[in-house]
């Protein structure tokens, strides 16, 4: 109830539906999720089972992330939701509207202004700061799953730090492709202990996991697992001495804002082979354009 009182004191927020508890989930469920989150924070990279609820959206649309977000939201939060870096795609828009309606929190597309960011498969380009929370949507939390199908065995392997198998996967990559071809969901070792699946972020983003000032929370709804990387935690991408980890991106600059160091999406523009590269992080791109940066296909607007 205090939540609603606070909301009414701040009339600039969007109208909240009074039919649901604050942020949709009931308080007991949120408490259960928070306990799992605390345990996850206490053991970085460890997958904590939790009693995942049915959410009013299909599995695979971010039910895990939504539950974690719901458990973390307070009325004062400013929420940003991104899907593959973009604020304006279906997944991002519908989750943002969901929390506008059920929690009445303020939303934003600016990484800098957000206090809580729910993300699907990207880490924002702009460095996060202390006090921010980054919530990942995770489809399959178990990094060893495709190597060892038995859950009982993968748990034992985590418990005993028996991670040789993870390198077998990387070995197979090199043997077949001449390099580590895994380009997303690249396995990492958290705080020198647990091997973790960073959700399907491109491996370009892996270095940003390590020593990040923000709290990073991972929610897998269908698989009923929560895990976390606390702020300033060391996260190392697995590799071989003679085939070191390399974050990769398209070898180009953004055609809209000219950024050379951001992760790019390739867009096919006609059926004659023309293409353009644009920043996958839309906020980063628009911010840069507002600052006057221009890319290859955006020259006409330069004054």
């Amino acid at each position: 109830m205090t939540a609603r009182a606070t909301r009414k004191a701040r009339p600039e927020r969007p109208a909240m539906s009074e039919d649901y508890n604050f942020a949709y989930l009931d308080e007991d469920t949120k408490r259960m999720i928070r306990r799992a989150l605390l345990k996850g924070i206490a053991i970085p990279g460890y997958q904590v089972p939790f009693a995942s609820r049915e959410m009013p959206m299909p599995y695979g649309w971010g039910t895990g992330g939504v539950q974690v977000t719901a458990a973390c939201l307070v009325p004062e939060d400013r929420l940003k939701v991104i899907d593959q870096g973009a604020d304006d795609t279906t997944n991002a828009v519908s989750i943002r509207r969901f929390f506008e309606r059920t929690a009445g929190v303020a939303t934003t597309t600016r990484t800098r202004e957000a206090t809580l960011i729910q993300t699907r498969h990207r880490i924002p380009e702009e460095p996060l700061r202390e006090g921010q929370i980054l919530v990942y949507q995770v489809p399959i939390p178990e990094p060893l799953r495709f190597l060892e199908p038995r859950e009982s065995e993968t748990r034992r392997m985590h418990a005993l730090e028996d991670y040789g198998l993870m390198h077998v996967k990387l070995y197979e990559d090199i043997a077949r492709h001449g390099e580590i071809a895994t380009s997303y969901a690249y396995p990492v070792r958290v705080a020198g202990r647990h091997v973790m699946d960073p959700s399907p972020i491109p491996k370009f983003d892996n270095p940003k996991l390590s020593g990040n000032a923000a709290i990073q929370l991972f929610g897998a709804g269908r698989e009923q697992r929560i895990y976390a990387v606390p702020p300033w935690t060391q996260v190392v991408s697995l590799d071989f001495e003679d085939h070191p980890f390399t974050p990769s991106k398209a070898d180009a600059a953004c055609d809209l804002c000219g950024a050379a160091g951001s992760y790019l999406d390739e867009v096919i523009t006609d059926d004659a082979g023309s293409r353009m590269f644009v920043c996958s992080d839309t906020d980063y791109c628009t911010t840069r354009q507002a600052e006057g940066h221009r890319g290859r296909l955006n020259r006409e607007e330069v004054a």
Partner: protein, 251 residues
């Protein structure tokens, strides 16, 4: 010199049914011990207990003076990865069928901390050569191998970390005789070159005679006779051993 493995009155039962009981023996460095007996005599149970796959009910298993039954699971797994090896009867149980031959051989190396692709690859190539698998097949999956090759691959995968003690469960079962003979030849060479101690379970007395220095005959979970291989096979004392030896078909 002290024995590598000392077993003292080991017992294991499955509820009311007896697996094996009161098994005691010493295994010395470089020695090959054969365990023979009919199906259901407790051979595989005994081997499983020794290798730590099954939890024994009573007795002690001292590996280089340390009781493996009292060890923690991580310690035991470390032993199983470094100093021990286990060759399954069915290579499918001991291989990762979805991983290339090189990856299969390299897994144990990576499990003990090898992180240099070039060195892992070189070791895998070397070991494939030692078990007579062409180096060109290093990136093939075990599925594409014949049964004999799969078994040889399993042996390479187990021996790559230079273990001291190898457990073998009917390593030649299910192979035709000419392939068996080649495999036995290979095993004998590896055992001699690497100075391995081996506990080998078999129901094939020919395999036992070729490989084993010493023989233990089991029946109904108990050891009924043990001694030097030639002595047991040529001059069997226990009635069951006499039956076993006389059951072998003479070609």
């Amino acid at each position: 010199m002290s024995p590598l493995l000392r077993v003292e009155s080991l017992g294991k039962s499955y509820g009311a049914r007896l697996g094996c009981a009161e098994v005691s023996f010493d295994l010395w460095p470089g020695e090959v011990l054969g365990i023979v007996g009919e199906s259901g005599s407790g051979k595989s149970t005994l081997l499983g207990c020794l290798a730590g796959h099954l939890a024994a009910d009573s007795g002690r298993i001292l590996y280089r003076g340390r009781d493996t039954r009292a060890m923690s699971e991580p310690e035991r797994r470390m032993l199983a990865r470094t100093e021990w090896a286990f060759v399954h009867q069915n290579p499918r149980d001991g291989l990762r069928m979805g991983v290339s031959a090189g990856g299969n051989v390299g897994e144990r190396l990576m499990a003990v901390g090898a992180r240099n692709y070039g060195q892992i690859r070189a070791a895998a190539t070397d070991w494939l050569g030692r078990v007579e698998i062409a180096a060109t097949r290093i990136d093939d999956r075990p599925r594409q191998f014949s049964g004999g090759m799969q078994q040889r691959l399993q042996i390479a995968r187990n021996l790559v970390t230079g273990p001291r003690l190898v457990f073998m469960d009917e390593p030649t079962g299910g192979l035709d005789v000419s392939v068996q003979a080649r495999l036995l030849d290979l095993l004998r060479g590896l055992v001699r070159d690497m100075g391995l101690s081996v506990v080998i379970v078999t129901h094939d007395l020919a395999v036992a005679r070729l490989l084993a220095d010493r023989l233990m005959v089991m029946k109904d979970g108990h050891v009924i006779e043990q001694g030097l291989t030639d002595q047991v096979l040529d001059d069997p004392q226990a009635a069951y051993t006499q039956l076993l030896v006389s059951s072998v078909l003479q070609v």
